[in-house]
Amino acid sequence: MSRKSPPLKKDARAILKIRLVGVACLFILFGMALGTRLFYLQVINHDELVALSKKQYADKEEIVYGRGVIFDRNQNTLAMNIEVESVHINPSRVKDKSYTARTLASHLNMDRGKVFGDLSSKQRPYWVKRKCNLEEVSKLHHLDLPGVRFISEQKRVYPKRELAASVTGIVGMDDKGFAGSEYFHQSILKGTTVHRVIEKDARGRNIRSVSELVKTKSKSRDVVLTIDEVIQFIAEHHLKKQVEKYEADSGMVLVMEPHTGEMLAMANVPQFNPNKYQAYPKEKRRNRIITHSYEPGSIFKPITAAAALDSGKVKSTDALFFCENGKFKIKSKTYREAANHKFDWLSLQNIIAKSSNIGSIKIAQELGEKQFYKYIRKFGFGKKTGIDLPGESAGLLTRQSGWSGLSLPSISFGHEIGVTPIQLATAWSAIANGGNLVLPQVTKLILNNGQVEKSFSPKIIRRVISEKTSRQMIEVLKNAVKNGTGTPAAVPGFETAGKTGTAQIFDWNSGSYSQNKYLSSFIGFVPADAPKIVVRVMIENPRKHHWGGVVAGPVFREISKEVLRYLNEPAKGERVFFLNHA
């Protein structure tokens, strides 16, 4: 069909060569232009272009997803994440500013003037409202407003609302914890941070949802607390009831396992809802069990007694002390008993039971300043307990070298010393558990993808008193509940050890003790001879009534009763049936 193509002749090949070289030259020129251009862009202009490109990366927003879950000790969820959407806007792409502002404000429940003001004044893209619930946003989706984007994010939620809020803590908009365990374990809980380009995509490519991201590369680490949500609920319930009944300013309850130092409940009233924490003043969100120190008052007396017994300066709980008939002058100061009681001779046991101030002074005087101070320190006062929560206070304790002649007598019954509830409970745990100071802990486990990565075993810090002293003190404190001021706290069916306290609140403004503001306290442990729980109750400024035994005692009783039942602790005379839960 086609002609046989003729072989190239020599002269034709020569012409071909010249022309092919011409073509090659064309490409060499082209290539040189390319190379020059590349050199200009990549070597000469390198720095300038890098700087310019960085500027556009600034349009990325940081989004955090997959923050770890916080569980209670039985792995009930206390803090988790849900999917929400945030509204982002690029003012330069908005066509009708007033319409856009009006629409956004009405759907997102925002102030129209403010939305319009922002939209008019801002040049760069910004968040209109972050972490809106999906209903708010779903209608906006359909409107397809130019310049408005929706970014899928995760929001921290606390499904149990107020429950254990002061322990669990809260996170900010950027998903960084700033209180409680959320803060303390930020490095463990922190999710994955992605830099998401919000504006750059000129074609409006779909934005991945966060849940997809979580599925693709989730490496969450979760925190399991020692808190038991049932015990926490019991504590909060009874505390709240009493605070309301006595119209008190506030109250707190702490339930602790005395042998391991595990915190089973930490209740603060008034409560706050961490899901809308902004609505509460900062002071209300504090976990005052660890952040505030108070003058403990009478509940400090057993510490004085335990120190005296353990040092050997006081041989037995029956040792008698002369209580000066209710008036004891040291230097310029006259010490009196509460409610103008007048005691003559009291045994150590009765000094605690009757809560004699002068008796406590006498016991401390037996010890001497040096020994007394040493024991106070040994019990952990004047120093942070080291609990794994942020913001702990060390309390207030003057060094022994700075003591005035009045320090020893005042401290002996719990004045002139600032103590946090957690310090006191830890010291009392040492009395209850046979003499060891334990490290109080609220974190039980750290889980990595559901597997235990780290478990926090109980830590004994040091021995404070001997086992013998511990046993003696348990008897003393049992007696204080049975025959002393603590009777309303007695838990039916259980031997109860404890001590009441009623302190006048020191008014820092006037520099003196308030005449009508009281701190009603009770601290105790049950069952007294093999303690399961140490419970510290504190009610601040109750009206109507202020005696610790009357106000705080019943809270202790009710909480202990229910917690012991929950823990399947058999009461005396109770027939026990073990149910096989399997």
Partner: protein, 371 residues
């Protein structure tokens, strides 16, 4: 010719090696530039790599077949191939089989894959021009008999392609045809004059389509409109700039993530520039030089005129496309929708490029006899 008989026992080995390096490098870069996008769009970071690999396997098959096909057969079947390609081009426009993408209708739906007939059209046109230059060898200085037929056939391909619209491919077929005619010996006066005559048509094509006008304006000053028309070029500049001399390392391009559109197709050279730096980008240009050198050598050494013109055409097809693509990414030329041969993702481009290589290898084989 006697020289080539003794020295070269088989086909051009250096060309084979160059192409092998190019396609393997292409696979790496397709994966690097598409993985994140693929994961986002198809939930599989290997999505595009797998597809490109399949196309490469098909391309190798095509290359092998073309290598084994006596190139004189192409001369014999030029007209049927041209006609078939022309029908396919019309099918894209008029039948329901045409697929749209990126604002243009360029693809033909073949059921399980989409084919771009304009890629095949380039090949068919080269066949025609090569055959025409041989057939009219003694009338080349005559305008009506030597020059005009080529121009008319070029027009037949040019019109449907520019209507798709695919300005890039249209420019390439013009460039290839005119260069082939220059090599073939058409009077330079004709070429220059027709080049001048084309100017009004090109101008009207640019001014008639708004997006072309914006692209040209963006080419002249991309910073005028950095958000829209100039966006691609500026992002490409950023990519090259960030790469610097040595590059950020394979896989470390930031621009490809969200900023650079078509990072795995039209702007893959920018990703190469960012990840491998000036050194890597220059090395790639040099590889294409090796290719051009081997291609033109095959043309020069070809035993007959058809082989010479065919080899020139095949080389020019790939060379023009490669250099225009790279020129666009560095801002030397206005933006077009052209892929980088062997490197970019794209099935039709890969298969036709491999076909060209197969033909070149066959021409380079001294054992091939004329029919």
């Amino acid at each position: 010719m006697s020289q080539s008989n003794t020295k070269h026992q088989g086909c051009d080995l250096l060309l084979c090696i160059t192409v092998a390096i190019l396609v393997l490098f292409g696979l790496v870069m397709v994966f690097s530039s598409s993985a994140v996008y693929a994961l986002e769009k198809h939930h599989d970071s290997l999505y595009f790599l797998k597809r490109q690999f399949i196309w490469l396997v098909i391309g190798c098959g095509v290359l092998w077949s073309a290598r084994k096909t006596n190139y004189h057969l192409w001369e014999r079947y030029t007209y049927p191939i041209m006609l078939g390609t022309f029908v396919l081009l019309l099918a894209v426009m008029f039948s329901g089989l045409g697929l749209e993408g990126g604002g243009a209708q360029r693809w033909l739906d073949m059921g399980f894959f989409a084919f771009q007939p304009s890629e095949l059209a380039k090949f068919a046109l080269v066949l025609f021009v090569a055959k025409s230059l041989v057939k009219r060898a003694d009338k080349l200085r005559n305008f009506a008999y030597g020059y005009l037929p080529n121009l008319i056939v070029l027009g037949f391909f040019f019109v449907p392609i520019i209507l798709q619209p695919d300005l890039g491919t249209a420019m390439i077929i013009c460039a290839v045809t005119f260069t082939m005619m220059f090599v073939g010996g058409i009077r330079k006066k004709f070429l220059i004059l027709s080049g001048l005559a084309l100017i009004p048509f090109i101008a009207s094509a640019i001014f008639s389509a708004d997006y072309r006008m914006r692209r040209i304006m963006a080419f002249i000053d991309p910073w005028q409109d950095p958000k829209d028309a100039g966006f691609q070029v500026i992002q490409s500049f950023f990519a090259f700039g960030r790469g610097g001399t040595w590059g950020l390392g394979i896989g470390d391009s930031n621009q490809k993530l969200f900023y650079l559109p078509e990072a795995h197709t039209d702007f893959i050279f920018s990703v190469i520039g960012e990840e491998l730096g000036f050194v890597g980008a220059t090395a790639l240009i040099l590889l294409f030089f090796v290719f051009i050198w081997r291609g033109l050598m095959i043309a020069y050494r070809s035993r007959d005129a058809f082989g010479a013109h065919l080899a020139t055409g095949m080389t020019l097809l790939i060379a023009f496309q490669a250099f225009i693509n790279m020129g666009v990414t560095v801002g030397l030329l206005p933006t077009k929708g052209l892929t980088l041969p062997f490197i970019s993702l794209g099935g039709s481009s890969m298969v036709v490029s491999m076909l060209c290589i197969g033909v070149l290898l066959n021409i380079s084989d001294p054992k091939v006899r004329s029919l």
